[in-house]
Point group: C2
Chain length 557, copies 2
């Protein structure tokens, strides 16, 4: 008898699982049910469709050669039956049946399975705020959302994006590109909370503000008002006028079907699965945005819905559902976005997450060009490494800037996967030619600084700590060791200038009793100054991590 596999959900994870299962067992009968009418669309592409970089929504639903992935395509090419506008309303685990409801006609039926794969996805979080049903308030998830958003992105109008996570900021750029005046409102005190530490987020915020976007952080939205259509967003920092509101607060896994069937739900609120993506019922698998996974750095459960993970999980679920043996071990919580001219992202743990997980951390903040500095296309990247101070193991990386941040994140993600130490990262044989990197890639420079810090040679102090020392009125010397020309262009308030080349001769002008914080453009000369001062008997010397380039609290020009 033919094996019957039912997949619920026909997006990234579900579509992948169905096609893969058919390739593995060509005699199996594979049915996918989806309550929507659009299937297998690239939800991650919505911001680019809204920005009109992608002209036609069909492009988001097509294969790379331009064939629309509709039910006919899946039937003829993949050998898989897809039932759209069909909701799976209940699972009868004992009899291995799923009850179906035709969304339009209300017709009911059921379908039997030998193996069931849940790929029910996620839904945007919509908090129960007053006026949330006012027309003009849109989420960013479905193709219907995308089409609506593109229509309503009217040049000259005002948009308010609520939530400064990945989707929120991608939408900020899309709407700004369409000529809207955009305000982004974020509950936390920084952009991309959970993805960037504060000083990195500040660098991104400066860039977004420079593009004319209004940024309101630590700001709570309390409701929406408007007659017939949204006009105002009420917040604890006052009203924000808006002709269009985008809610990008986050995503919540769709677990009702699983919960009602008695399947275990994990601590994150998503469907619990083992490393074979089996739910608490061994005949039922879950993959994609509806299930939780494991943080590979800490081993803790993690909910991190992403299209890339969904595709990998769909494959694993299909292999196991057809009798094979595949493992999905977890993720690093890698995340990235492009917003205006900057890329920003992370892999592994932020400093905050690492401390919360109980690690004693050492960090590095290192700005550098992404190619040989003399190569005309070179652009800067600010890189932050977070390491376990006890072992030197790399726990996380963050990158922000106009340079190729994605490459450094991916290399670091690979290194973190294999539990690499700073020592190992510093010796990676990365591909070097001037159009691609400096002779010492950003990641290798940062790893070297990390090694210098871990061995006690280099003593850094973070911009945040220095700002705190200033705010507390601490008596310390901020020592600028750049050239007079650099100093003339851009300065930190209150800093004394002694160019590095003159430092050895001007030691007597410096106080031996006071703490000294050295800095230059990026931190290398700051570090050299620390070493020169240490050699001359100055003991209380640290350099400013990342130099003036990553100082996020304003400079004198």
């Amino acid at each position: 008898m033919k094996m019957k596999i039912v997949v619920i959900g026909a997006n990234a994870a579900g579509a992948k699982a169905a096609a893969k299962a058919k390739r593995l067992n060509p005699h199996a009968e594979i049915t996918v049910v989806d309550r929507g009418s659009f299937i297998s669309y690239g939800a991650c592409g919505i911001p680019y469709y809204v920005a009109d970089m992608v002209k036609d929504e069909k492009e988001l639903m097509s294969t790379p050669v331009g064939v629309v992935r509709d039910p006919a395509f899946f039937r003829k090419v993949k050998g898989v039956e897809i039932l759209t506008e069909t909701e799976a309303v209940a699972i009868d685990r004992q009899n291995r049946k799923v009850s179906l409801l035709k969304v339009v006609s209300g017709e009911t039926s059921f379908i039997e399975y030998d193996a069931l794969i849940l790929a029910t996805g996620s839904s945007p979080v919509v908090p129960p705020l007053e006026g949330r049903a006012t027309p003009g308030i849109i989420t960013v998830k479905s193709m219907e959302d995308a089409i609506l958003l593109k229509e309503q992105a009217v040049a000259g109008n005002r948009a308010c994006v609520v939530g400064a996570g990945l989707i929120g900021l991608e939408t900020v750029e899309a709407l700004a590109q369409r000529g809207m005046q955009v305000t982004v409102v974020e509950l936390c005190g920084q952009l991309l909370p959970g993805i960037l530490d504060e000083e990195m987020a500040n660098l991104l915020e400066q860039h977004i503000r420079s593009k004319g976007v209004t940024v309101m952080t630590s700001c709570r939205v309390s409701g929406f008002t408007g007659s017939g259509r949204v006009e105002q967003v009420a917040t604890d920092q006052g009203e924000v006028t808006a002709d269009l509101v985008v809610l990008a607060i986050g995503a919540r896994p769709n677990v009702e079907l699983a919960r009602n069937a008695g399947l275990a739900i994990g601590t994150t609120g998503a469907i619990a699965v083992d490393n074979h993506l089996r739910t608490s019922d061994p005949a039922i698998y879950a993959c994609g945005d509806c299930c939780e996974t494991v943080n590979l750095v800490t081993g803790a459960p993690l909910y991190a819905p992403l299209g890339s993970t969904a595709n990998k999980q769909g494959r694993v679920a299909a292999i196991n559902a057809t009798g094979g043996d595949a493992i999905f071990a977890g993720v690093l919580g890698t995340a990235i976005l492009k917003v205006f001219d900057f890329g920003a992202g992370k892999s592994g743990l932020t400093e905050g997450a690492a401390r919360a997980a109980g690690f004693t951390v050492e960090t590095v903040l290192s700005p550098a060009p992404d190619r040989a500095h003399f190569y005309p296309a070179a652009k800067p990247i600010a890189l932050k490494l977070v390491a376990d101070a006890a072992t030197g193991r790399l726990l996380g990386v963050q990158a922000v800037g106009p340079g190729a941040v994605d490459k450094r994140l991916d290399v670091a993600a690979t290194a973190i996967t294999f539990r690499a130490t700073a020592e190992q990262v510093s010796h990676l044989d990365l591909a070097y030619a001037p159009p691609f990197s400096a002779a010492m890639d950003n990641l290798i420079v940062a790893a070297d600084i990390l090694k210098n810090k871990l061995s006690g040679h280099a003593k850094g102090v973070s911009p945040r700590q220095v700002k705190q020392m200033q705010d507390d009125g601490d008596d310390f010397l901020l020592l600028d060791v750049r050239s007079p020309a650099e100093h003339a262009t851009m300065r930190l308030a209150g800093a004394k200038l002694v160019p590095l080349g003159a430092l050895r001769e001007k030691l007597e002008t410096l106080p031996r009793d006071k703490e000294i914080v050295t800095f230059c453009k990026i931190s290398l000369r700051g570090y050299e100054a620390q070493k020169i001062l240490n050699a001359a008997g100055f003991t209380k010397v640290r350099f400013l991590d990342g130099g003036i380039l990553t100082w996020p609290y304003g400079v004198e020009t």
Copy 2:
């Protein structure tokens, strides 16, 4: 008493070693001697200087903030003494002294050392061909070469570049950009021998030819003629007219000083060192282009001079020379270049090198866009993976194309360093958003294909093998499963068209006794066709690796 460290050679490795040693031991007396007048220049930047993308040669000798790294800079900023135009002519190991000769005045002296670091670099190979001293024949190594080459790169004139390795091809582009008519002559049967396997090199060759460059492979140069200046390059394929000849045949380590001092020379011809970069004399270290290293994949000695490696080794030599303990384990032979609109490179072993090292290999050829296919900036990359068939361990990667090849090479290099298997690579949590990659990154797609091949699900055949079958007149069916529209645009000679969507219904039109090779644009539909045919009882079916996109033997249009 102050420790005395002498470094011979003031380029990448030597300059790095000297500066690092001073930071580690500020009381040490560090002296660098160099026979040249230019020091610490970025030789890798020469092609971009010749192309006039870098206007002033000083940019190649400056720090990122524009300070020229001359002896005054090293003295004042780094605390290191540099003696230029000073040749180290002999090492007296017993008395720890180096004899010095002032190149201009002929004055001799000696300098004592506690630790000696050899960073004598490499020289371009200049074979003993007739007429090799004719004016107008230039190598690409020193700043003097660079200045001469830039002067003589006259628009409209003809240039002949001998050697199609990394430097040769970078120079080809530079001279073409200056408006020269360029011919490149290579002794091997392909471009970038040792870096790319033949089918990947062919893709690069097609691109270079499309830019108007004449490519002559399997071509031996026998000499140069011209009256007063070079006019002709004599080869076994006839004479090549040239107003300028660039010799880019390779680099040879400068080992005379070490050899004359009785230090061990390795099997590669470079100075032998242990993993602390100690030579056979424990007081003498070697780093950079003058010493050999280890291939991390095979464990065999390797000579792979590169600026990136030189910097890492300089650091390690400095740490050990000042009494520390640092290891340089080896390299992967990672290499990359940009030529016109393509990037190309490798890390680890090519298929040829893997077979030569005794591995039974499985390979994958996978072309795909480097970003989400709907994202306007997406550009293709052809990726080749080489794996150990027994264990699935990734041994090497090659990448060619206009897309971001460097990112995939660096991720693969990191994975190879940690001896990752195809399974592990396929689950890497790489940074995904449409501007940076597809939901399944090129490397993950390729690793999935590799897994399918290793498990026996996917049966591929390389373009080279198919070409051989055609040339041998084998009786097999080449089955194009693309759409009629795709077929109309570009075809493989003799292929039968059955679009994948119609395949299940047209099985009776296909021969059951004959071998069938399926293909599509990239290979995914070719693989699906293989699975459909297998399920229908066809047993002799393979798909063409990489599809029509990486078929390097010409197509019908």
